[in-house]
Every structure is written in structure tokens, then in C-alpha cells.
Amino acid sequence: MNETGRMSGWVAPTWASGICAGLHGSGCREVVYVPDNPLSHILRVLEQKYPDIRATLATREEEAVGIAAGLYLGGARPVLMMQSSGLGNTLNALGSLMVAYQIPAVLLISMRGDAGEWNSAQVPMGRAVVPILHSFGIQHVTIDCPEAAEELVLASAALAFGTRHPAACLLPRRLTAAGGRS
């Protein structure tokens, strides 16, 4: 799915449909993102099935955190969507804005550098994702089976918005590889 052409004959992967159903069911109508291959499936499901969810493209993940925080202040339930490498670009904003001000968001993070990775440059940041989340006190779930996606997103959103703190859903390669290539 590296080119638009490969989207022809596209069928929504179960995991992507589940995630979108979970987001919609949680009352999330705003997604701020920096793209990644697997996330294209989510964007496509949103576009086709959930036109009431707005997806806003940011130039950098740190910027996306700022936009999401502003959306929350304005009354929305924001979702941040990025590749694991992009989490590294968000750190000061996650700490000094979201955690310090108790501003929640659901973080959807497509993983690189985990099992199945071929690119060694992706591995250090991939390994660091969970320790970084722990260091900010951000809980995470790993969506490792497509059928659990909706429930895990619903649960993460309940945790985030109920307690006013970010919560993360990790999308490992072995989940997303079923519906696309990274």
C-alpha cells in the first residue's frame, strides 16, 4: 500500500474497522495525525464510514499534540495517530502540556522496530516506546488481535477521558501486516 494505486480493490481490515468503531463509539470526532502506512487503513475507514470524524494532518507529531490539546480545551475528545518513531517527536509536549495540564487524548501508535522489523534504524525508538510511556505514567494496551480492537479502543478512551490523562493503543506490526505493508 505504498502507492494510491494499491488501494484499488481495498477491503477494510478487521482491526482498522474495529479501531474506528471504538473511536466513534467513544465520542471521538477529531483525529490529528502524521501518516504511516498502516494508519492509511484507519483514515480510509474514517473517510468512508465516519464522515462526522474530522482528520487533521499535522507536519510533525509534537505539533499534533498541540492541536489535540486545543481541540480538548474546545470541548472535543481528541485522538492522536502516529508511527512509533513519531512518539519521539512528542515528548516535551506530552509532558509539559498533556500530562501537566491533565489534558487527555487517545494515542494510536503504529509500531516499527518490533517483531518483524527489517530496518535497524527503527529499532531503538521502537524499543523505547513502552519505557517512554511508562515514564510519563501513560498506560497502554497492545491491540494484538483484530477482534479485540474495538473493545480495547473503547476501554482506552474511557480511561483517558474519564481520568483526564492520555492513554495509548499500540498497533504491532503483526496486527497491521495482515492488511497492508510497512
Partner: protein, 197 residues
């Protein structure tokens, strides 16, 4: 024109617009010139003032939103101007206090002290309604005109550094609650709910 003078011109021109302000001296001056619940003071996340304001503008199309940024901060997140150019929220206005230095950290020079030009950068990134002002009267007139035009717009205010005299409240969660209450957005968990019988 000193930054505090320019800040007073801005606060005098405000009605009910929420203002997101950059950490450090811009926030200190905004507090001194006119504290109000609709001021959102940042204490970290340098560079994200315009992004926060964009998120607010998207969530609240019924309100006109102002970002009050500094040159050093905006230079950290120029991509934000490209995103704002692309989203083109008509209810967003950006004011940049450009003193050509990192005032809060000791006055080290920024790129705008040299060749960098934020007005031209904003235009190049898709914000056509961009101007630079150097004196209080032009700033007042520009803000007066800008508020009647659809946004997004950006005004670069060339200022000299002034010594701040006050600090805003330091409790981040208090700042958020106060701001959201003034804006009329309610958070989950902040009011009671009936128990199901």
C-alpha cells in the same frame, strides 16, 4: 515599542476572544496587562501556541481565537503555519511578539535578528493575510481591521524586550479549569451524575 506596550494595546482591543499565550515573557506580560479567565497560559510546550490555538479554532468555530506567540517559539514550529494555511480556519488570528531574541532565557539572538522574516514565511506557508507592525498606533489599527476580516491572519509585532513585572498563576490544572469554564466547555467528571436505580 516595548513588548509590554504592545501587549497593552492587544488587551485593550480584546472582547471575548480566548487567547493562547506562549510561555515565559509573553505570558508574564499578558498577565500583567490584563489577566482574565479566557487567557490560556502555557508553562512549557514551547512552540505549540499556534497549534493549541488552531485546535481551539477548529473545535469552536463560533468563537474568534487568538494566539499570542514569540519569535523564538514560532521558529520552533514553523510547520504549524503550513497546517494553519491548509486548514484555513476563518476564526484564528495570530499575533507574534518579535523581539529578535530568546528573552526569557537571557536575550540570546533568534534568527529574526538576522535574515529570517516571519511575515514572508507565513505567506509562503499559506497565510496570505500577513503583516508586520512597528508602532502602537499601527498595531491598534491592524487589530481593529483584522478582527472584521475572515482569518487566518498573522501580525508580526516588532518589539523591544521589556522587563516583566508579574507571573501568571503557576497551577496548570487551575489555568485549564478556569479557561474551560470561561469558554463554556465542560470536562467529563467535573459535575455530579444521577445514580441508576
Amino acid at each position: 515599542m516595548k513588548r509590554i506596550e504592545a501587549t497593552r494595546v492587544i488587551t485593550a482591543s480584546l472582547s471575548d476572544e480566548p487567547v493562547v499565550v506562549s510561555l515565559g515573557h509573553p505570558a508574564y506580560d499578558l498577565f500583567a496587562a490584563g489577566d482574565r479567565p479566557l487567557n490560556f497560559y502555557t508553562w512549557g510546550s514551547m512552540g505549540l501556541t499556534t497549534s493549541l490555538a488552531l485546535g481551539l479554532a477548529l473545535a469552536r468555530p463560533d468563537r474568534r481565537i487568538f494566539a499570542l506567540d514569540g519569535d523564538g517559539s514560532l521558529l520552533m514550529n514553523l510547520g504549524s503555519l503550513a497546517t494553519i494555511g491548509a486548514c484555513a480556519p476563518p476564526n484564528l488570528g495570530i499575533i507574534v511578539m518579535d523581539n529578535g531574541q530568546y528573552g526569557t532565557t537571557g536575550g540570546q539572538g533568534t534568527a529574526t535578528a538576522g535574515k529570517a522574516d516571519l511575515e514572508r514565511a507565513a505567506r509562503a506557508l499559506g497565510i496570505e493575510n500577513a503583516s508586520t507592525v512597528h508602532d502602537p498606533a499601527t498595531l491598534e489599527e491592524t487589530l481593529h481591521r483584522a478582527r472584521r476580516l475572515p482569518g487566518p491572519w498573522i501580525v508580526i509585532v516588532k518589539v523591544g524586550e521589556s522587563v516583566p513585572t508579574m507571573k501568571p498563576p503557576q497551577d496548570c490544572v487551575h489555568i485549564k479549569h478556569r479557561f474551560m469554564a470561561a469558554l463554556g466547555t465542560r470536562e467529563a467528571g467535573t459535575s455530579g451524575t444521577p445514580l441508576l436505580q
